[in-house]
């Protein structure tokens, strides 16, 4: 084995080890968030008022008292049962998926997954370029608005063409979303590249601006508001311009075509990032900006183009939300952009990982509806989990320390295991 080959194999092992480590960290963060979430559910159960306790912690528990007789010494009742909540949250979201794979709860889960895949990969692209795009929410809103408003005028032209109309209008809608979101993403990118304005702040401010401008555009019939409606929304787009509901029922607002587009997009972005020179430049700018610039990468241009790409992906997410779920634009778009941050971070900013993380979050979002119906626990619980997951993924050192401590307890250590828990030498 030559020296260069040797170096290469070491390098590869580190990369895979860090990949495995990332996965372990994400999973541990998830488990830890769920555990802390359970504590929060119990604590909230003490704050709420209820007639009978849904959950009871007793010492010694019934497992022991049923044999020894007598009753528990310490017993505390809680209004919410965390196990039941998690049961509804995770399993409820799947519905009867084995018996009836197209059940409406599972359809909701997949619909959420589809939109989250776009917002998640949007955030991931920017992260890989070393840019924090917290503005996926705003870019998604702008993309959704652009699609909904423009198609309102364009779609009727293709009205009589049937399936052909769909083939023309649907991609056009996605493209419009990408255009709107992309431009809105390029703006903070340019502000960062050419005026040194911190993108975290500008993108958050632009989220507020996007929401306000969207409200302005759809709150009056003289602009784009549907005159027949009391709510702030545009007119509903014709049926043929929306995603067809193959296999699933139309009222479940989910389309396998959209999910397919999402999967293709994730694979496409993965290919772009790992197999093209643009992706290479983008990633080097993220890891080592100075080295990238030394290697001839135009840092400013990379920031703008990665933010434009990121915004475009979020914009497509908005277009999908309009063309699959809503059928028009409405104010009060759910916080897909913020969930996208968690999805991306949980996936280690890997476009393929985003798919799995998006499904997990789709389950959480859809499950929160089941929780809301089936118990008194507010669905905002998912918002708490969202933050906790980010926090724990952000502190890999915690898990490394825990891993080392656990590792030192084992009687025999072999080097291979040590590499897996330490994750090799990975410099951040």
């Amino acid at each position: 084995m030559s020296a260069s080959e040797k170096a290469r194999s070491v390098f590869e092992r580190i990369v895979t080890a860090s990949g495995v480590e990332r996965l372990l960290i994400s999973l541990s963060a998830l488990v830890l968030s769920i555990l802390i979430g359970a504590v929060i559910i119990l604590a909230a159960g003490r704050m709420a008022d209820c007639g009978t306790a849904a959950y009871r912690l007793a010492l010694p528990g019934s497992l022991i008292t049923q044999f020894t007789g007598g009753s528990a010494v310490v017993s505390m009742g809680f209004c919410y049962d965390p196990i039941a909540v998690y049961d509804q949250l995770f399993l409820g979201a799947l519905g009867d998926v084995v018996g009836n794979p197209t059940n409406s709860q599972f359809a909701t889960t997949l619909a959420e997954t589809t939109v989250l895949a776009f917002s998640g990969v949007a955030v991931a692209v920017a992260f890989r370029a070393g840019v924090f795009n917290i503005g996926a929410q705003g870019q998604l809103v702008v993309g959704a608005l652009t699609t909904a408003v423009t198609l309102l005028f364009v779609a009727p032209v293709f009205g009589g063409l049937g399936v052909l109309g769909t083939i023309v209008v649907l991609p056009l809608g996605l493209l419009l979303g990408a255009l709107g979101g992309g431009l809105y993403g390029a703006l903070p990118g340019a502000l960062k590249a050419y005026a040194d304005a911190n993108e975290v702040i500008t993108t958050i401010m632009l989220n507020f601006v996007a929401t306000a401008v969207a409200l302005y555009l759809v709150n009056d019939a003289s602009r784009f508001k549907d005159p027949e409606s009391f709510a702030n929304q545009t007119e509903v787009l014709p049926e043929f311009s929306r995603f067809p509901s193959l296999l699933f029922r139309a009222r479940d607002d989910f389309s396998l075509v959209a999910l397919g587009v999402a999967v293709l997009t994730l694979v496409g972005v993965w290919y772009l990032l790992t197999r093209t020179s643009f992706g290479y430049d983008l990633r080097t700018s993220g890891i080592q900006p100075e080295a990238a610039e030394y290697g001839g990468v135009d840092a400013d241009r990379t920031i703008v183009s990665s933010m434009a790409l990121s915004g475009a992906l979020a914009g497509v997410g908005g277009a999908v939300y309009v063309l699959m779920v809503l059928g028009n634009f409405q104010t009060g778009i759910p916080s897909y952009g913020f969930d996208g941050i968690t999805v991306s971070i949980l996936a280690g900013n890997n476009p393929l990982g985003v798919g799995f993380a998006a499904f997990l979050f789709g389950v959480l979002k859809s499950g929160s509806i089941v929780v809301q119906v089936g118990s008194d626990v507010p669905p905002e619980l998912v918002g708490v989990l969202r933050g906790l997951i980010i926090l724990f993924v952000a502190m890999p050192e915690f898990f490394r320390m825990a891993g080392r401590r656990f590792d030192s307890l084992l009687p025999e250590r072999d080097d291979q295991a040590a590499v897996a828990t330490d994750g090799g030498v990975r410099n951040e």
Binding site: F132, V200, Y216, P378, E380, L381
Partner: protein, 388 residues
């Protein structure tokens, strides 16, 4: 006699020159242009108000000089100013606290909840401070002990609060918005012996009470947290400049190694600074909610980006507490102006667009004056050489 006049004229010229230098020298072409346009706009507005009564410029000046605008500016300044002061301490010490928004949110909710439970706004304020400090403590542990990426951990703090506060509100009050509780009273209504009386009693000679002075009356008719804010700005300025703690904080952000060599524990200084940012943001957040007596948790909650505006305020103020306070007043003033504009309906500008004024201003300020010099070790983890 004439020499005294000369001296005053001389001083005036010197002052004018130093102001001119502060505004224009050492700035880029674009910044100079913006400053010039800003000055012209102020002069133009003032001129229009005097010479063209009835014009829309005069109407705008009318809005700007309304006593309610100053009152709203002071009220809206409180959360931003406190969060900005907290952000200065944290960032000066080397920990970028981008989670100020989250600290404000959690303090706002806890402030209301604690007031509701105990019946006292002051205990409510304390509760808000405790909650915010606890969250800041978590952030500090994650960043300092576990070497987390400060930006991501800060975002996590924001998102945790953004989830937790509406969640807790729904648990306790059955909706994202809480019940109304007691509010912080303004000084004249607090029933403080002598002082409250004095503020509303017409003064001799001028025959107006302090609270009735046009425009500036609002300064005497505010709730105690506004005065606390002035105090905190002064104290922070003094602490950073003149105390050894302040010097440690600065050294911990600029040159942690030197501080360590001098025998001061860098981690401990950073913990103190981040916890302090929690205490200060706690006052700000609780004051925001207790000024209204209710926590609104839908969408971006009632805090509505104030934590992020605070970050821009201290960047614009170049990490100086007084500078940060002045830029806070600018942003809060714009917010207050848009509120008065909405209420008065002077101009036919649609409300949703008027509401974006403060956010757009923040973006412009950041783009034009955003090139501040961060403390050189900000964002970096520091590991003591001796191994703690």
């Amino acid at each position: 006699m004439s020499s005294a006049v000369e001296r005053t004229a001389d001083a005036a010229v010197r002052r004018a020159r130093s102001t001119f230098e502060y505004l224009f020298v050492g700035r880029g072409r674009l910044q100079q242009f913006v400053v010039a346009v800003g000055l012209l706009a102020v002069l133009g507005l003032a001129g229009a108000a005097v010479f063209l009564p009835g014009s829309s410029a005069a109407a705008l000046v009318d809005v700007l000089t309304d006593s309610s605008t100053l009152a709203a500016t002071l009220r809206l300044s409180v959360p931003i100013a406190f969060a900005a002061l907290g952000g200065i301490f944290a960032e000066k010490s080397g920990v970028i606290n981008i989670g100020l928004e989250g600290l404000l949110i959690i303090a706002a909710f806890t402030g209301i909840y604690a007031t509701d439970v105990t019946g006292s706004v002051w205990i409510g304020l304390l509760g808000g401070v405790l909650a915010s400090t606890a969250l800041a403590g978590l952030f500090a542990v994650v960043c300092i002990e576990f070497k987390a990426d400060q930006i991501i951990a800060g975002l996590a703090v924001w998102l945790i609060a953004l989830g937790l506060a509406p969640f807790a509100a729904s648990v306790v009050y059955g909706g994202k918005t809480t019940d109304s509780v007691a509010t912080l009273q303004t000084l004249p209504n607090m029933g403080i012996p002598v002082l409250s009386e004095f503020l509303v009693t017409p003064l001799p000679l001028v025959n107006t009470a302090l609270v009735d002075i046009p425009f500036f009356g609002a300064l005497f008719d505010a709730n105690p947290t506004v005065y606390l804010m002035f105090l905190a700005v002064g104290l922070s300025w003094y602490t950073l400049r003149n105390t050894s703690f302040g010097k440690w904080v600065v050294a911990s952000g600029e040159n942690p190694k030197a501080l360590d060599t001098a025998g001061v524990n860098v981690h401990r200084v950073r913990y103190a600074a981040v916890l302090l940012s929690g205490v200060l943001s706690g006052i700000g957040g609780a004051a925001l909610a207790l000024g209204i007596g209710q926590f609104t948790g839908s969408g971006p909650t009632m805090v509505n980006g104030k934590g992020f505006i605070a970050i821009v305020a201290y960047l614009f103020g170049n990490y100086n507490p007084i500078g940060a306070f002045l830029s806070t007043v600018l942003f809060a003033g714009l917010d207050a102006t848009q509120l008065t504009l909405q209420a008065r309906d002077v101009f036919q500008v649609p409300r949703p667009l008027v509401r974006t004024i403060p956010y757009v201003a923040v973006i412009l300020v950041l783009a034009l004056f955003g090139r501040t010099r961060l403390p050189s070790a900000a964002g970096d983890h520091y590991e003591s050489g001796e191994g703690e």
